[in-house]
């Protein structure tokens, strides 16, 4: 039975308009709190963000970190300098080789032997850093593209990362947790044929960069999702202490490899790409170009690679060769001291920052003498880069979060330590 027409209530137009305005008011007035993460695929690990939403617009974002906190700094105070190297693999686990190098350089600076490293060691370390950068950026870009809807790119970049892992495996014996450096040198020299394998990889990866750029740089959907999204102006980036590709994407021409060259970066010819606007697209372009520059650096290193030893000749810093330990007195003593007490570092404090794929990875070491650091602080670029989120996210749509997070390219292992 339908309701007779005369029983329906017809309101005056003015009353109807007032009711509609009231309804609209209700819609605007209610804010929703949405929890994102810690196990959300676009948070690349365990980042949690509590969002306050007005419709689909973010009005407030509170990041919550620490889900992967393992107390690395506490652990470091309880072991020798050499024993801590495997823990550095687990900071930025997408670029373990670069972390190994940064940590070794920090301890060498404390010991005052950073200028005495043999040339071959320095060149191999630069190759390691740049391979790590390519690997990390390939993942960062692949994941960014994946999150904004371009699945194919992810497959392309992962194919190349697999080759870097193969190179890591033949170089260090491990694909992921490399622990390749030692204080004052390297765990082992390049295996036979490695240089040729690496050159072959460089030939192939450049083609892959072209393919990736073809798929993304002028892709209408990708450009719409990233341009003018997550704009981080220069002044704000500096104020928040942003470093690495994110800082350069905002237009600051600063790279620690150029500003304070360590290892043999002063002998390398490479350019530092800088963005103009500081949006997600600029950060993408900077990473893309950085990978090409890394290929350039690795090529130069392989061309200039000198022979000679890979370790400093000092039994008080590095373990002596095993055959000497078994036959000679002095080496036996060094071996014993190294195992039980570690390197006897002088009292003092140093800070060393390296240009890692994610930004400035710094180690502050306070030594009071002896084999263990009194305090070791890890200045993690991902931690600092994420602190800008409460400022960067409000005003964007929910779907922009994945583009912004992808373009900031963080790793929670490093952020939480």
């Amino acid at each position: 039975m339908s309701t007779p027409v005369q029983n329906l209530e017809f309101r005056e137009p003015a009353a109807r308009a007032a009711a509609a305005a009231e309804e609209l008011e209700d819609l605007h007035g209610q804010k929703m709190v949405l929890n994102m993460g810690p196990s959300h695929p676009s948070t690349h690990g365990v980042l949690r963000i509590v969002l306050e939403l007005d419709g689909e617009i973010i009005t407030k974002a509170v990041p919550d970190v620490g889900y992967l906190h393992r107390g690395d700094e506490k652990i470091a105070e309880n072991m020798t300098y050499t024993q801590f190297i495997p823990y550095t693999d687990r900071l930025d686990y997408l670029a373990p080789l670069a972390n190994n190098v940064a940590y070794a350089l920090a301890v060498e600076k404390l010991l005052g032997i950073d200028k005495e490293l043999p040339p071959r060691c320095q060149f191999i370390r630069v190759v390691c850093c740049e391979l790590a950068r390519i690997s990390s950026h390939l993942l960062g870009l692949g994941a960014l593209a994946l999150d904004v809807g371009a699945l194919t790119v992810f497959m392309h970049t992962f194919t190349e990362r697999e080759k870097i892992y193969n190179l890591c495996e033949s170089l260090t014996g491990a694909r992921f947790t490399t622990s390749y450096t030692r204080i004052g040198g390297l765990a082992r020299d390049l295996p036979p044929g490695w240089v040729e394998q690496c050159r072959k990889f460089l030939e192939e990866v450049v083609l892959n960069f072209d393919e990736t750029e073809n798929l993304l740089t002028r892709n209408r959907i990708f450009v719409d999702r990233t341009q003018d999204v997550g704009v981080l102006p220069k002044e704000k980036a500096i104020d928040y202490g942003i470093s690495g590709p994110n800082l350069r994407g905002s237009g600051v021409d600063f790279d620690l490899r150029k500003a304070h060259p360590y290892l043999v970066y002063d002998q390398m010819k490479f350019d530092v790409p800088v963005g103009s606007k500081g949006d997600c697209y600029d950060r993408y372009l900077v990473r893309m170009e950085e990978m090409r520059q890394s290929v350039r650096i690795v090529r130069q290193c392989l061309d200039m690679l000198p022979g000679g030893p890979i370790n400093v000749d000092d039994g008080k810093v590095l373990m002596p060769a095993k055959q000497k330990v078994l036959t000679r007195m002095e080496e036996l003593i060094h071996h014993f001291i190294m195992v039980t007490q570690g390197i006897n570092a002088p009292p003092g404090e140093i800070y060393f920052g390296a240009e890692n794929p994610k930004g400035e990875l710094g180690f502050y070491i306070c030594s009071r003498g002896g084999g263990t650091p009194y305090r070791l602080k890890i200045r993690a670029p991902s931690f600092v880069n994420l602190s800008v989120l409460p400022d960067l996210l409000p005003g964007h749509m929910i779907s922009d979060i994945v583009a912004i997070l992808g373009s900031i390219d963080f790793v929670m292992g490093e952020c939480d330590r």
């Binding site: 107390g71 652990i75 800070y351």
Partner: protein, 220 residues
């Protein structure tokens, strides 16, 4: 302009409040006598000396010393490309100093981390909460008197609240002790003290009750 010149300029500004610059491995360190003036010194370093990038803030626990806490500020300037380390001390009773979030916004998370790990408070910080540990965690884990193995935490909702099995580690001796027993890390005083605290905690009935509640054990 080098870091030493900049440090001298800062000293000229603040006089006896700052120590003479100390150099180690090419790094310049200045010690500020009065922690209450840290924000003022930082503001001056930023605006008149161009230290626009705060790299890091760190704290050190000098367990058994007075003052107990040391706070470090690593400054850098993109213009002159020089590093400077500012250092100040805070006593254990006070455990408080002014925030520098008003100078650099990046200080926000660094100060929260120091509060979380060592329990030093920053006056005027907009949102001083724990950052790496969870809200309501009762200890400050980076203090020297907190054992490496951790302490049993009396929180029913945390899945892993037991101490870590260290199997007798860490196995590093510290040089300089009078005999091998004194050098052995397992007998270091803070560690022993905190183990005793743990033992006391385990005997407490309220903690036991929480851990013996059926819902606590049925958690996956």
């Amino acid at each position: 302009m080098g870091a030493l010149d900049l440090a001298n300029k800062l000293i000229a500004q603040f006089g006896a409040a700052l120590s003479a610059p100390a150099e180690f491995r090419g790094e310049i360190t200045l010690v500020l006598n009065d922690a209450e003036r840290i924000a003022e010194v930082c503001q001056c370093a930023k605006t008149s000396l161009g230290f626009d990038y705060l790299v890091d803030i760190t704290s050190i626990d000098g367990y058994g010393e007075d003052p107990r806490w040391t706070i470090m500020y690593h400054l850098y300037g993109y213009g002159h490309r020089a590093y400077l380390r500012l250092k100040t001390h805070v006593s254990e009773e006070k455990s408080e100093l002014p925030t520098v979030t008003t100078v650099w916004r990046t200080a926000d998370w660094h100060e929260r981390e120091i509060y979380d790990m060592m329990g030093i408070r920053f006056r005027g910080h907009p949102d001083l909460r724990r950052i790496l540990m969870w809200e309501g965690y009762p200890y400050f884990p980076l203090r020297k008197d907190f054992p490496l193995a951790g302490k049993q935490s009396a929180m029913p909702d945390i899945a892993f609240s037991d101490r870590a099995p260290l199997e007798g580690g860490p196995f590093v001796t510290t040089p300089g002790g009078k005999d091998t027993i004194a050098r052995e890390p397992r007998v270091r005083v803070p560690e022993t003290e905190s183990l005793a605290t743990n033992a006391r905690l385990e005997r407490r009935q309220d903690v036991k009750d929480i851990h013996e509640r059926p819902e606590h054990h049925s958690k996956p």
